[in-house]
């Protein structure tokens, strides 16, 4: 019986050992309003969102290319909590995401969507780029060139 349990634990544990940071809006708020000298790129996405998945490699590339120039990428997943284990964590693992990924789980969307940006209708994907007090919000998909162009404006 013990052996069976051991085998069970060995098989199951590696899947569950990757912890996911999950926040409500109050927990996320400091992460998207950091007061430092870095350029912060915050992308709201979900594994079920086609255009998000398409542009995700561009954010990863940005994270890789500009990491020595103080550009910080944060990927905020809006996957349903019931999909964290079956979709989100496997996705992060499969695609070896290097950027920091957090999940936002807060049902009161009518409070936090306008708090993130007054113009946001709630459609995904959406992105914030900010540095200090300079802040831009984009309810759109990016090409790699467009994304780099926007970030470069903040690096000047």
């Amino acid at each position: 019986m013990r052996n069976i349990l051991l085998i069970f634990l060995i098989t199951v544990l590696p899947v569950q050992d990757e912890t996911l940071e999950v926040y409500d809006y109050d927990g996320l708020e400091p992460l998207i309003n950091q007061k430092d000298d870095k350029v912060h790129v915050v992308n709201f996405w979900a594994t079920w969102c086609g255009p998000c998945i398409k542009e995700l490699p561009y954010f990863e590339a940005l994270n890789e290319k500009y990491r020595h120039e103080d550009v910080d990428v944060l990927l905020v997943s809006l996957d349903f909590p019931s999909k964290y284990e079956t979709a989100l964590k496997p996705y992060i693992k499969k695609h070896k995401l290097k950027s920091r990924v957090v999940a936002l789980n807060d049902n009161d969307q009518n409070r936090w969507i306008p708090a993130i940006d007054e113009s946001w209708s709630g459609a995904l994907p959406a992105t914030i780029i900010y540095k200090g007090d300079k802040r831009m919000f984009y309810e759109k998909s990016f090409t790699q060139e467009e994304l780099e162009k926007e970030v470069k404006q903040f690096l000047k």
């Binding site: 255009p51 049902n107 009518n110 969507i113 306008p114 459609a123 995904l124």
Partner: protein, 203 residues
């Protein structure tokens, strides 16, 4: 003086065109008159708001098969129609996505989904993608509650169905129901616009 007049005219034209662009981009606000349409239903017939002679208004809902948020709300959209169609506010569902990008939203898939779920409301396709931009819908699901008046169908509420996409039993605020109830009682709607996460409409 002539130059001044010419300049003022130019400024006027410019500012007017600027406003037109903005309003086209953003779609309807509360109080605007919503356009009617003629869109194909899953039964092959064309449906317009003007077909509903006895309606007091409409719960126009942009939704689709493929968006997890839209799927999470399917039963609640059906429940809205069951509750309010007989009271004069039927649900009119419109699928706005480009089906070349989302084949799971094509007419056959819509018919199948409606059959599986037993939808009692019309499920129309915005085939030319010309209606949703006029409304200003950006995502699914996205509700526009209209009230029929002599001037036309006036937009009375824009936004989410309720405040809990995850769990229909844990909803605190039924935004659409509250809005329709207020219209039925002739009262002012307390919350006229809400925001919720949804899938961007595929162009």
């Amino acid at each position: 003086m002539k130059i001044f007049k010419l300049l003022s005219a130019m400024v006027l034209v410019l500012s007017l065109s600027a406003f037109t662009v903005v309003s086209e981009d953003k779609g309807y606000s509360i109080g605007d008159i919503a356009t009617d349409f003629s869109l194909e239903n899953i039964d092959g017939k064309m449906v317009s708001l003007s077909d509903y002679k006895d309606a007091k208004g409409f719960i126009v809902t942009f939704t689709c098969n493929t968006c997890p948020y839209a799927v999470a709300y399917e039963d609640r959209i059906e429940a809205l129609n069951k509750k309010y169609a007989s009271k004069g506010y039927p649900v009119i569902a419109i699928m706005p996505n480009n089906t070349k990008i989302k084949p799971g939203d094509n007419m056959e898939a819509m018919q199948e989904r409606a059959k599986e779920k037993g939808f009692t409301f019309p499920y129309l396709m915005d085939k030319d993608q010309e209606i949703y931009p006029q409304y200003g819908a950006t995502k699914t699901p996205h509700v526009y509650l209209l009230q029929k008046t002599k001037k036309g169908n006036v937009v009375k509420y824009i936004g989410a169905i309720d405040d809990n996409y995850q769990d229909a039993t844990a909803v605190n605020q039924k935004y659409v129901e509250n809005a329709v109830d207020a219209l039925l009682k002739g009262e002012a709607i307390k919350v006229t616009e809400t925001r919720a996460i949804g899938c961007s409409i595929k162009v």
